[in-house]
């Protein structure tokens, strides 16, 4: 991680230099002649010719690619109804209408595609296939399909599977292209970001994206062109932006999406009612919201997953005296935070194919008695069951209430269509440690999903009703057992849902009954698993999001030896230096004589 940080520092320097050149070199605002020419062309766009259709050979070759790789999701006729479709949300694209999300072309137009030009910036569909659509099931095909094969398959899709429109029909189609590469960006600055923050209110962005941009405004009433529920993007997770092109912190991608809109979704193009300058301010503001590290640098992104890199160690820092219950206090602000990523629970029934919570930020502090965890995760809705639930927070076998999505249902009953129809349960969060981890024969751990008979786990579970309870877990299909004595010692220091984000602070004693409750020891790696339930996703029992194994470590205070030995070593080096110099000087003298 350290390497990447220093790398990105270099980038920052370069960017800063570029910015200085730009600011001093010319006026910032883009006002070339192109902006005024041609009636009806929005600022920053330019009319272009429709490209020629691909050759018959390309189309035929593309068919072979399509039926090896794509048909499984997008279906035989490209209607987005392949075998995988009914368990996916968002559903695979239906190509028939020629509606494509990520474009440089004006609203309503077809995307850029030219089978002879695999050039970044001039070929929207090629870039989509190359980089994939993060946050959806569409992967990056770079390194899997050759450039030629990607162009072939797109030749097939655009001519054979797009049925309602023709890419070369001059009578009905036009190309008005955003000149993304020649428009000068307004460099990010506090002023620009401030203007952007005002503009997102002005332009009503926050009505859908939420006051804090966590995608929590109007999140349950939006539909796409095919009638499936769709949620506004969470601006704090730029790595999930569909149009991020595997370069999530690049503000150009946001500028593009804002200028051209996202076809087939409620996200419109803002080209007609914003100036280019305004769009850059908004893009700079949105980009500034994406999660960054303590120095304000972009998070290192793992190129294999396009998500932030994980460190599996959660470090709890020592303090003396009371631990503050205010996440804004200096004590908590100074603490390092670590990201924990979630996948759906897809091991046992009912499997959770769509987990709406995909990460949580964790901080921890301990004193001589307690350890406190601070969890913060984005959740578009505060979910609290309105009626008394027919099951307790300890029950896990709930197949009567929580159903697994069937593999083949057809569109009306598909998982995408279900998304706004779930019975609302409580949001909940839990974390587990092994009981008597001191005695586990390495490398054995209790199973990630609530332990087993032989190796039980210590589970602390909170839910949005405000209850926090200590349970014993003895297996994936066993209801949790109460640990009432320990429950009394747990404290919820803070629970708050605000603008699309939960903040939860839970305190637990460092030790309890050795045989039942996990005992924390300094400097030891204690296996930890996190679980999150989203009430609006109908999550309860085994339907939830789950993390991999992490480790909680209580940072020991720095021992005295850490200062003594290096000083001794440095002293030794000084003596050694003296010795070498004297020897050399003597030798020379000897030679001279």
């Amino acid at each position: 991680m350290r390497d990447l940080r220093s790398k990105s520092r270099w980038f920052a320097v370069l960017i800063a230099l570029a910015a200085i050149v730009m600011v001093s070199g010319s006026a910032i605002v883009w006002t070339s002649a192109e902006a005024q020419e041609g009636g009806g062309v929005p600022e920053g766009f330019k009319k272009e010719e429709l490209p020629a259709l691909p050759s018959a050979e390309m189309i035929e070759a593309g068919k072979r690619v399509y039926f090896t790789k794509c048909v499984w999701c997008h279906g035989v006729d490209g209607a987005g109804d392949g075998p995988a479709a009914d368990r996916l949300w968002p559903r695979p694209r239906n190509f028939n209408q020629g509606t494509f999300k990520i474009r440089r072309t004006a609203s309503g137009e077809l995307p850029l595609f030219d089978a002879k030009k695999p050039i970044p910036g001039q070929n929207d569909l090629f870039e989509t296939v190359t980089h994939g659509l993060p946050g959806s099931a569409m992967p990056s095909w770079e390194g899997i399909l050759s450039e030629e094969q990607r162009l072939q398959v797109l030749s097939f899709v655009t001519t054979q599977l797009v049925k309602d429109r023709k890419f070369d029909d001059k009578a009905t189609e036009t190309l008005t292209v955003l000149q993304l590469d020649s428009i000068k960006p307004v460099p990010s600055s506090p002023e620009s970001i401030k203007k952007g923050a005002e503009l997102v209110v002005d332009k009503k962005c926050i009505e859908c994206h939420g006051v804090e941009g966590r995608g929590d405004g109007n999140a349950f009433n939006l539909k796409d062109d095919w009638g499936f529920p769709i949620q506004p993007a969470d601006w704090h997770k730029c790595w999930n932006f569909r149009g991020s092109r595997q370069d999530p912190y690049n503000v150009k991608n946001i500028f593009r999406t804002f200028s051209t809109g996202v076809s087939g979704t409620p996200m419109p193009s803002f080209a007609d009612n914003t100036t280019v300058e305004e769009r850059w301010h908004i893009a700079n503001f949105v980009n500034s919201l994406c999660e960054r590290d303590a120095n304000g640098e972009p998070l290192p992104i793992d190129p294999l997953t396009d998500k932030p890199k994980i460190n599996f160690v959660i470090r709890s820092g020592p303090t003396e005296g009371d631990i503050s219950d205010d996440p804004g206090s200096e004590m908590w602000q100074k603490r390092e935070r670590r990201i924990v990523l979630f996948g759906g629970q897809i091991t046992h029934k009912p499997r959770n194919f769509v987990n709406r919570i995909d990460d949580v930020w964790v901080k921890s502090i301990y004193n001589d008695k307690d350890i406190v965890f601070l969890f913060q995760w984005d959740d578009r809705s505060k979910s609290v069951a309105t009626e008394k639930l027919p099951f307790g927070p300890n029950q896990v076998n709930l197949e009567q209430y929580v159903k697994e999505q069937a593999p083949k249902t057809g569109e009306p009953d598909s998982i995408a269509a279900q998304q706004s129809k779930y019975t609302v349960y409580n949001d909940a969060f839990a974390f587990q440690f092994p009981v008597k981890w001191q005695e586990l024969p390495a490398p054995i751990k209790p199973r990630y999903l609530w332990g087993d008979q032989k190796y039980p786990v210590d589970i602390v579970k909170w839910d949005a009703s405000g209850a926090v309870k200590a349970f014993a877990g003895t297996g994936w299909d066993q209801d949790f057992e109460d640990r009432d004595d320990f429950t009394e010692k747990l404290k919820v220091l803070k629970q708050e849902w605000k603008d699309g984000r939960w903040t939860l602070m839970v305190s637990r004693p460092l030790k309890g009954d050795y045989d039942e409750d996990t005992k924390f020891e300094m400097g030891k790696y204690i296996p930890t698993v996190f679980f999150a339930w989203d009430g609006h996703n109908g999550d309860a029992g085994r339907k939830m999001a789950v993390s991999a194994f992490y480790y909680t470590v209580l940072e020991p205070p720095i021992p005295k030896e850490t200062y003594i030995y290096p000083t001794l070593i440095a002293f030794g080096v000084v003596i050694l230096e003296g010795w070498v110099l004297t020897r050399r000087a003597n030798k020379k003298k000897g030679k001279a004589l």
């Binding site: 390497d3 499984w72 996948g343 029934k349 194919f353 751990k445 440095a570 080096v573 070498v580 020379k588």
Partner: protein
């Protein structure tokens, strides 16, 4: 950064090729410089060469090589560089010369340099040793056996399968007989893209027998398995990023290509929880698929995985 990514699967070859190319370039440049009368001193040549190798290993290769391995490579190349600069007495003298100059400090520049070294060295070493004495809270390294020894037989949905003698009931020729040769001739081509053979399309309406079973296996795969193992069976599915160990990459020649079909059948049926301890059953999220699929469905998925990756299952003989 993406432009710097190494091509997956060709990495070792690419790395060796690049390194060889760089060494050749390096030799050529120093040769040309020498010819032009501006030969670079041996001392700097050695340092430059070694630094290059260390930086290459650190930044060019992804996923990153662990520090311990890099340290080993670094030491080996350091020894190589030393052998090179000390191959004869004259070279060795030339190599030592800059160091001796600084030690003797005959000029003002060398004096300043020597003073700087004398002060900086203890401080830097203090810093390094302080860092190494700090309590180490790095991620612990855990080594898991990826392909643990299978049992002799496995019982799935009440039926016992002996791993040595069982056969995939769907690996058949048009006569309905188990036939590896026939089916192996119809898998995807083992080249870039791994595309199906033009005359063996499982989605052809007329596809019967083996190819029809492949399509059915594919349907099951994309309704169940792609969430982790990915659309291209390369272990990069929708949920894969959250899990550790990461899902198996079937396109890697080290996974299903090395194994018998019955081994896969056992692994799929029993899942992570059915692994022996050396396979870390507690950490795997792989479902025991007997809880979700029928025996026939599992065999078809296995059939599909070999078809789509273009590998032959290993046989017992």
């Amino acid at each position: 950064m993406t432009s710097l990514k190494l091509v997956e699967g060709f990495m070792p070859m690419q790395m060796l090729f690049e390194l060889a190319l760089c060494v050749a370039l390096f030799a050529l440049t120093s040769h040309l410089l020498g010819k032009g009368g501006k030969a670079m001193p041996r001392f700097w040549q050695g340092i430059l060469f070694w630094t290059f190798i260390v930086l290459y290993l650190k930044y060019r290769v992804y996923p990153p090589i662990p520090f311990s391995v890099r340290a080993m490579y670094g030491t080996v190349s350091l020894i190589a560089v030393f052998m090179w600069v000390s191959s004869n007495e004259e070279d060795w003298k030339k190599f030592k010369q800059p160091i001796m100059n600084v030690l003797d400090a005959n000029t003002g520049f060398h004096k300043a340099l020597r003073t700087m070294f004398l002060i900086a060295l203890p401080i830097i070493l203090w810093g390094f040793s302080y860092n190494s004495f700090l309590p180490n809270l790095d991620e612990p390294v855990e080594l898991r056996t990826v392909h643990p020894a299978p049992p002799a037989s496995t019982k799935v949905h009440g039926k016992t399968f002996v791993l040595q003698t069982s056969q995939n009931p769907y690996r058949v020729n048009p006569e309905g007989k188990y036939d590896q040769e026939y089916t192996n001739a119809r898998i995807v081509e083992q080249s870039m893209g791994r595309l199906m053979k033009p005359d063996a399309n499982p989605w052809d309406e007329k596809a019967e027998g083996y190819l029809k079973y492949v399509r059915e296996g594919g349907e099951i795969f994309y309704q169940n398995c792609h969430f982790c193992h990915g659309d291209n069976l390369n272990g990069r599915g929708l949920h894969a990023f959250a899990f550790n160990p990461i899902p198996a990459n079937f396109t890697d020649p080290g996974t299903i290509a090395q194994l018998q079909e019955t081994f896969i059948f056992w692994r799929v049926s029993k899942g992570g929880i059915g692994l022996p301890n050396e396979g870390f059953p507690w950490a795997s999220v792989m479902p025991p698929w007997e809880q979700h699929l029928t025996t026939d469905e599992i065999w078809k998925v296995v059939l599909f995985e070999y078809w789509h990756t273009g590998y032959y299952p290993r046989t017992w003989d």
